[in-house]
Amino acid sequence: MRITCPYCGERDRREFYYRGAATDLDRPAPDAGEEAWENFVFLRENPAGVTRDLWYHEGGCGAWVVVTRNTVTHEVLETRLASEARS
């Protein structure tokens, strides 16, 4: 598998550390309530199809990257810096 780091270009996936769903970027306000926090910390979608997740270019530039990919076809559709990808 190869992932295009916005800084470094296309690299082998072994340079990256996988974290999980990109919903980790959407941290609720402290007072957002139990449900919002439970969703944020514990609940994840498991889509057969397009998913957005966070990879860390640990063996490279140190950027956190949001990777949009398809879990069925394995296509990598888009990569963006996490610092610029917050919705």
Binding site: M1, R2, E10, D12, Y17, R19, D24, L25, R27, P28, P30, W37, F40, V41, F42, L54, Y56, E58, G62, A63, W64, H74, E75, V76, L81, A82, S83, E84, R86
Partner: protein
Amino acid sequence: MRIKGKGLIDRSRSIPFMFDGVRYSGFEGDTLASALLANGVRLMGRSFKYHRPRGVLTAGSEEPNALVTVGSGASQEPNVRATVQEIYAGLEACSQNRWPSLNFDLLAANDLAAPFLGAGFYYKTFMWPKSFWEKVYEPIIRRAAGLGALSGQDNVDKYERAWAFCDLLVIGAGPAGLMAALVAGRAGADVILADEGSRMGGRLLAETYEIDGKPGHVWVDEVQAELEAMDNVRLMTRTSVAGVYDQGTYAALERVHHHDGRHPHGAPLETFWRIVAKRSVLAAGALERPVAFRDNDRPGIMTAGAVRAYLNRWGVSAGKNVTVFGNTDDIHRTARDLLAAGVHVAAVIDSRHDAPLSDDYPVLRGAQVCGSSGRKGLEAITVRRPSGEERIQTDCLAMTGGWNPSVHLTCHMNGRPTWRRDIAAFVPTPGAVPGMVPAGACNGSFSTAACLREGIAAAGEALADLGVKLPEVAVPEAEDTPYEIAQLWAVPGKGRAWLDFQNDVTVKDVKQAAVENFRSVEHMKRYTTQGMATDQGKNSNVAALAVLADATGRGISETGTTTFRPPYAPVSIAAIAAGAEGRGFRPQRFTTSHKASVARGAPMIEAGLWYRPSYFPKPGETTWRQSCDREVRMVREAVGVCDVSTLGKIDIQGPDAGAFLDFVYTNMFSTLKVGRVRYGLMLREDGYVMDDGTTARLGQHHYLMTTTTAAAGDVMKHLEFVHQGLRPELDVCFASVTEQWAQFAVAGPKSRDLLNGLLEKPLSDEEWPFMACGPVKVLGVEGRLFRISFSGEHAYEIAVPARYGASLFDILAERAEALGGGPYGMEALNVLRIEKGHITHAEIHGRTTAFDIGMGRMVSQKKDCIGKTMSERPGLEEEGREQLVGLKPVGESKQLLAGAHLYNEGAEPTRVNDQGYVTSVCYSPTLGHMIGLGFLADGPERHGETVKMVDGLRGVTTLCKVVDPVFFDPEGGRVRG
């Protein structure tokens, strides 16, 4: 039998080799299989289950039968295909799976028991008694069934891994692959052409075809010469592309020194390549399939293509009196090639009723071979015709059931091949692998001209994608014979007709599977083991599923194939893991004091990637405890020195540095004064403790964070995530400075005395109170000093640029010794911190909260921080939670054990009665008994109670008193004194 004047071998170079202890000779260019056949050796192995005598079936990497062991001792290599292994002077090969010898194999008795050993036999027979499986059945089965054996010794050969990159990877160097590479090469594309053979050319080396009026192999040499002259083309022979992975990554195994037996220093036996290609052309060719008929596995029965290959490429006739059997025109070509070489052709048995006749050899039309005889090699076959059965004497039967395109690689990314009825074969489904275009025989196009045409077209398609202009290329002249086939999978009849030669699977087994309702091809495969041997059923899977289709009354297309998985050809684990053995397993990180510690006799222990001294033995000390106890006393009474450089050090700067730290730590850091250090606690977002450490404020916008050794990498990753992902608006930067500074703890009542000799100015409590920090000059070098203490003593950590680390350690250790102290290791460090109740990752193990470790009040109420919201969940701070306590033995047993559980004194040590567990223990030389830290339900309220520690594994029960976790100097006077 070698045929004069035939073949691409070098007859001027005779090569001696050994097989089963007998000396033979062959020629340069021979494989072990061709050389043995030339020497009249037909019996090369025994089958997996029935120990049937077996000879070579094919002439390529798909060979199921002729597996041998090459070499001996540590470099012994089992299951080497004799059809792939080239001979070299000194090659020693042995047959496998036989005892005592290949000719006389006692386990051949299995063959007599065959009626009982059919599909499902193991599943049905070895069910009970249950205990027999592991002790009786499995060892016996393992001994009887199997292939070659490993030596049991460490591998002495070197293996290698490497990366390669290209625009276009061409897989296979037959006519299609060569043509594709030539076109792409001429266009200037960056090309890799990989072929599993020792020589490029594919089937062109095995046939008598001409291209542009030249013998096929001459054309191959000319193309190869042109490619070799191109800087933009890389040719890789003896390289099997074994797997296809996402985004154009290919795995390939190069056999670097198997063929010559040479071991130059540092040379790898194999190189495992990862090839990254923007586009690929698959020109993998096709594999011929045998026909299943009764006793079709005798040595001397081979695929027709193999018979031609041995004849045309190696100048070897596989027999003196050959019969040919099959369902395509290939059998007539085989007969003609043999006759032209002067080999007698006894009969051509063509299953097609409209088969062409010949004046040169007898043709039996509409006939089928239905049996064979001969003890350890073929002596005669039985042919069935409408008029009856007939026996024909023959020592070699060349058979073909047609060709299977090598679609394997097109299926590695979940693709399924498409059935083509007209050629009775599966072909690649277009687009099965993004960026891969199949061409030639692997695409179901079998004529030479079609291969050449498709090679050009495939390269053109790839080049267009790459934006490279296609050069003008003329299609060379070559034969364009249509492929006409009548389906023929299994000849009906009694007895055993083999499908999978390597795993001994017969037509009967597949039918049996269908009868027992294993009707899905995947179920049939697992029930019969069809295709599960090292050849993965390359010759037999399609025939097996055709038999299954017939038995279940479905079509072949509907029955479908099993899943093709990498690797296409066997890849040794040694190659996949090359370089990662021994010191290559993972990086070794050495501190600047490493050599000095080793010189002082310290055993080094691994801490993550780091190596740290366990203890520093003195003359006369015979156990680690003696050294450790002395080192602890030394710190408590004089001064000790310990390298703490392995702790993570992160430089944090920027206008928002304070705000950032407030967000990642539970407590406040923006309020910390410049020149001061504060202990900090970090949570995960789920509210549990992540790490702890001290952070120093070096300037208004400048902090230095320390992490534990174990969590340094994770904390850095976490900080980057919090910054980039959650708080990108904060203007703050991090840099790991772990490696920049060599840092040493100098601990003990005489620590100040020791340091005063090294610093410009004497230290005082006024200028350097507990938790002070700042720049100092250490023997003239700019350094940093922190008055912090993990041991609970008056202590400092002193840091200098790493280049001076080794030197400073020597000086500190010597000066400490002069003051009655010395260096101390991890064991003493651990005792010192347990005596003080300081936690490590033994306590903050991922399931404890700030509340649990008694630091609930460190979660500031004035601000938000990572983990704060979730740490306030009722369950995380409620009554009954297991909280940190100290433990000391009070009963007869004085032993404490980490990992043991805690129970009320009178309670049974069962799960439901569990009250907590022990995390850290040591013998405290300061207190004269063992002490421990652990977690106990409502622990802080139970100081003074007696609980029972039970270690069920080691059978230890100890009564303990619950105490405050700070065993020594609870007021903290020493640290300030």
